[in-house]
Amino acid sequence: MADEENLFHHALRLGDDALILGQRLSEWCGHAPMLEVDLALANIGLDLLGQATHFLNLAGEIEGKARDADALAFHRDVLDFRNCLLVEQPNGDFAHTIARQFLFSNWQELLMKEIARAPEPRLSAIGAKAVKEIAYHAKFASEWVVRLGDGTDESRARMIAALDWMWRFVDELFDPKEGAPSLRAEWDARISRTLAEATLEVPKPRRGVLGGRAGHHSEYLGHLLTEMQFLQRAYPGATW
C-alpha cells in the first residue's frame, strides 16, 4: 500500500513538472523572437505535454479512482499540484525562458535516465521514451545560454539576471525528501561546463526556495491554471 502511494506521488510529481512547463512554453507560440525559436519552444512544450499525459495517466491508474490525465490536469486546484517551483515561473524575457529550460532540462535528462532503469516497468517505459526527447531540449537550451551569455552586453546582462532569478529554485530539484540528491554532482558539472563556455559564472549559492512538492506554490501557478483550466471550469465535463 505504502509502495503504491509512493509511486502515485512520484508519477504525479513527474507529470505535474512536465505539464506546467509544457503549458508555460505554449504561451510563446506565435510570440517567439523568430520562427525557428517559436517552432522549437512549441515542440519542446509538446514533448512535455506528451510526457505529462503518460505520467498522469499512470498516476491515475495507480490511484484507482477513475481519474485519468485529463481529470488530474483540469480538475485539481492549485494546492493539489506537486510540480517544482522552477517550472511555474513566468516566461519573462527570452533569457528567463532559456535559463529555466537550461536548469530544468539538464536535471530532467539525468532524472529520466535513472527512471528508465527503475524496477517499475510502467515508469521505466515512459522514462526510456522521454530521455531521447529531453536530450534535444537540454542541448537547445544550453546552446542558447552560450549564445546569450557570450553575446552582446545586453544579452549577457539579461542572461545573468535570468540565471540569478531562477537559481533559487534549484535546491528543490535535489531536495533529499522528494528530489533527486544523488544527481546533484553530475548536474553541477554539466551546468558549470556550459556556463564556462558561455563565459558566465555559476551563480552564488543562495537560500533555496522550496514548497512546490507540498503544494505551496508561488502566485504564478494560480494564474497559469485559470487559463489552462478555463474551459473545464466554465463547462465542466465538456468533451469534443
Binding site: 517552432l39 522549437a40 509538446l46 499525459t53 516497468p121 517505459a125 526527447e133 536530450a135
Partner: protein
C-alpha cells in the same frame, strides 16, 4: 485451417491492410513503413508512438481502427506500448526510399544512437551533402529544418531518434 495457421494469416492480413494506412503528417509513408505497427499478437495489433507528444498519435490510432473495421476485422483490438521506445532504425528501407522521393531526407540507418551529432544531411533534391542545419525543431516533432548550400533549397530531415 489450423488455429496457428489462421493466426499467421491474420497477421499477414493485418500488415497488408495497415501498409495502406498513411501517416497523417507525412502521407507518402504508411504506419507500417514507419515502424509504428510493431506486431500482431493473437487478435491484437500492437502499436507504438513515435514521440510522446506527437499529436498525430491519436489520428493514427483512429485511422488504424477505421481500416481494420472496413476490412471486417472489428474484433481486432489495438494496444499501445511504449517499450521498447520507437527508433528511426525501425523505418523500413522502402519507407526511407519513399521519404527521399517525397523530399524529406531520411534518417541514417543505425544512427539513432548519435542523434545529436548527425553527419550532414543529403539534399533530397540534388543529392549534395553540402548542407546545413537551420533548426533542430521543425514542422513536426520528427523532423528538423535543413538547407542545401548547393541548390539552395530548404528541406526537412527526419531526425535520427
Amino acid at each position: 485451417m489450423s488455429a496457428v495457421a489462421e493466426l499467421l494469416s491474420l497477421k499477414d492480413r493485418v500488415f497488408e491492410i495497415l501498409s495502406l494506412v498513411s501517416d497523417p503528417e507525412i502521407p507518402c509513408v504508411s504506419v507500417v513503413d514507419l515502424g509504428i505497427v510493431r506486431d500482431v499478437r493473437g487478435q491484437t495489433v500492437v502499436i507504438t508512438p513515435t514521440y510522446t507528444g506527437c499529436p498525430a498519435t491519436i489520428a493514427i490510432e483512429q485511422d488504424i481502427r477505421t481500416a481494420l473495421d472496413r476490412a471486417g476485422l472489428s474484433q481486432v483490438k489495438i494496444e499501445t506500448t511504449l517499450s521498447p521506445p520507437w527508433t528511426t532504425d525501425w523505418i523500413s528501407d522502402e519507407g526511407r526510399a519513399k521519404l527521399q522521393a517525397y523530399g524529406v531526407a531520411p534518417p541514417l540507418k543505425g544512427a539513432a544512437k548519435h542523434s545529436l551529432h548527425e553527419t550532414p544531411a543529403e539534399c533530397p533534391r540534388c543529392g549534395s551533402s553540402h548542407t546545413e542545419e537551420i533548426s533542430r525543431f521543425g514542422s513536426t516533432p520528427c523532423k528538423a529544418l535543413h538547407r542545401c548550400l548547393d541548390c539552395r533549397e530548404p528541406f526537412d530531415r527526419f531526425k535520427c531518434h
